[in-house]
């Protein structure tokens, strides 16, 4: 049964490879259109919405409150991060989702495979939920506001001793304040609605995950494969650079930069992206290195294939499983890093991320544990879902292990 199945390596990449030989692939068209659209909106934002006060500085740094879509009555200000996020979404769509559509047979096969893996399906559902709510939610749900008089409201079906909230929104019974529908997940020590913060936090986590992964995977896999394949001086230089980068722990480096410049989410993502690809590169390289020793690559080279072709159609696909493993570890680790810095009080405090909420609730843990627990659980389940999904993808993309399992 395993023998007549077409594997990932044979179908998917071969086909994409053919497409790349044509002048323009549909994937590329989508990216181009998406980029053009964004460029237009950006130009509109830059020339018509952003005041000259901003223009004097050269860019909209978010200092001025200038809603991009105010013309159509939507008071949402688009920031640099939003642009990057949108761009990474376009790329993601063009090179991850579209190929699934282009290869229905393969998609069906993977889908069948995935469907049997219940944790993976649940994870996929969870991540889709986070993704959809995270992208749409902040546009329609108001940002959480401070209401000192209704601090420490418990989530629905829970209760808290009435000495902690000043006014109880729900009903008071036996000296306890009960949760109410108005604040389904309760409120923080500032009286901010936790449900809304969670929704806003979803978007932040998604932004961190998508943008950073985009950078890391692109740089990492290029450097890794090139180094492994080219060898010699190129390999030496690239890997020595990786060495140095790896010797400079990112966490420490970020602390150092923070020490000098202060924190912002943008800086965080860019820095972590630019200094986190060495793991991917090393992984891809060591994998490719082992593979270049293998006979068939030598055979391909002997047959006169170009370097680019060899990398594109043989080394990259062969390292795909390693890359996916790496992404599934990377995305959650970025989300986790953000939460850690927020916890230490060194993160970007202006954003309502889950980490900020965990940090806020930590001193109230003894009597209002939900403030920390709810975002903590969201963080936990999101990281968990990435891992389950990654694992399932790995199984699906790794026909050897698959075949073994069915013996």
């Amino acid at each position: 049964m395993a023998t007549d199945r077409q594997s990932f390596d044979e179908i998917d990449w071969g086909q994409i490879d053919e497409e790349s030989e044509r002048e323009i692939s549909p994937n590329f068209i989508i990216v181009a259109i998406g980029t053009a659209l964004m460029g237009a909106v950006w130009a509109f934002d830059y020339f018509f919405v952003t005041g000259t006060w901003d223009a004097a500085i050269g860019m909209d740094f978010g200092n001025q409150y200038t809603p991009t879509f105010e013309v159509i009555g939507w008071g949402y200000d688009v920031t640099q991060l939003d642009w990057l996020f949108a761009f990474s979404l376009v790329l993601f769509g063009a090179y991850m989702i579209l190929p699934l559509y282009q290869n229905p047979r393969m998609t069906k096969y993977y889908w069948r495979d995935m469907k049997r893996n219940r944790p993976a399906m649940a994870s996929l559902g969870w991540l889709l939920f986070i993704f959809v709510i995270g992208v749409i939610g902040p546009a329609i749900i108001q940002a959480p506001t401070v209401d000192l008089m209704t601090k420490y409201q418990p989530p629905m079906f829970l209760e808290i001793n009435n000495v902690y909230p000043i006014n109880c929104v729900g009903e008071v019974a036996g000296g306890d304040c009960h949760g109410s529908l108005e604040h389904p997940l309760g409120t923080t020590g500032d009286g901010k609605d936790i449900f809304r913060i969670i929704v806003y936090g979803m978007q932040i986590s998604m932004k961190i995950g998508f943008i950073a992964t985009l950078f890391v995977v692109t740089i990492g896999s290029i450097v890794g494969t090139v180094a492994a394949y080219a060898g010699g001086l190129v390999d030496e230089v690239l890997m020595r650079w990786v060495d140095i980068q790896q010797s400079f722990p990112t966490f420490i480096l970020y602390l150092l930069i923070l020490y000098i410049y202060g924190a912002s989410l943008f800086l965080f993502i860019v820095l972590f992206s630019l200094f986190s690809w060495e793991g991917t590169a090393r992984y891809v390289r060591s994998n490719a290195l082992a593979k270049t020793e293998e006979e068939y690559i030598k055979a391909v080279q002997l047959s006169g294939a170009s370097t680019y072709r060899v990398i594109r159609s043989h080394i990259m696909p062969n390292s795909a499983s390693s890359i996916v493993t790496d992404i599934t570890l990377l995305i959650p680790s970025f989300i986790l890093f953000e939460a850690q810095f927020a916890f230490l009080g060194l993160g970007d405090s202006t954003i309502p991320s889950w980490g900020v909420l965990i940090a806020q609730g930590r001193s109230d843990l003894a009597f209002a544990p939900w403030i920390t627990l709810i975002p903590g659980l969201f963080l936990f389940f999101t990281i968990l879902a990435f891992n389950f999904l990654g694992d399932a993808l790995l199984d699906a993309l790794n026909p050897e292990a698959d075949a073994e399992a069915e013996q």
Binding site: L256, F380, A401
Partner: protein, 324 residues
Amino acid sequence: MGMEWYIVRRVAWAAIVTFIIVTITWGLMTAAPNPQVQQAVTQAAMDGENPAEAEERMEAQLQLDRPLHVRFMDYVVGVYTLEWGWSNTRNQPVTAALVSALYYTVQYSVPWTILTVLIGPIVGVYSAANQYSWRDHAATGVAFFGYAIPNFFFGIILLLIFGVQLEWIPIVYQTGVPVFSVQNVIQLTIPIFVLVTGSIGAIMRVSRNEAAEYANADFVKTAKAKGVSTYRIYARHVIRPTMVPLSTTMVGYLLAIFTGSSLLVEVVFGIPGLGRTLYDAVVAQDTNLVLGSTLFFTFVATIGNLLQDLVYTVLDPRISFEDR
């Protein structure tokens, strides 16, 4: 030639890397204003004197008026002779601060590393051998849980349960207790547990996946056909090739945890180790101590990578050294 020559070159390279790092940190430090000069200037301004003159005087006193290359040489010599300056926020030499912090860090990081390196690959390979059995699922579940639960979050929860509710462990870390004492074991159990659950997850998974790739390799099949026991096959033949790709990530991975999570865990549990020293230095803007701890961490990382590469070469004899 071959491996020996490669190892020599690799060690030399590690030395060069430390030098590059030292140079970068020197650049950072030179670019930033010197607090002592600032203080002198402030004092002069307060006394109604000429701040520019005071600045020159102070720079002369601190020998900052010498040519850059002389100062650089002095600095490099200082770094390699462990003269790392004076910590303003602790009022002791930076090296003394780091040594006293190391004392606490070692106490939990040694057992943590040993446990991780032992348990991670063994459970991973065991899982691969029993793929899709309930044991595999249980191990995978533990791995996922450990990896997915944020260390600091897990730490706070455990501290709340075992420290505040059950009162089994002290809430405040006791620095005075002897290293080898029951009290110390009790107070370090939870931090080590948190760190181990956090770090073995990824290692278990990587080793499981790698080992699974070898599960239907020819040599395994042959061995099976010969009637060698599964345990023997995995113990003797699968672990070693599994460790090859694992070794390329494990040291870096452990170091990342060492510099990241251990800092969080030290903050949560109040352990005055290296991570918290660095954190406090950043928070209190103590330049010398920030640089000192940064240098320390990067040195550790460089040496860790060196060891990793050496292990790699020993483990995978297929790689040739001629052109590396």
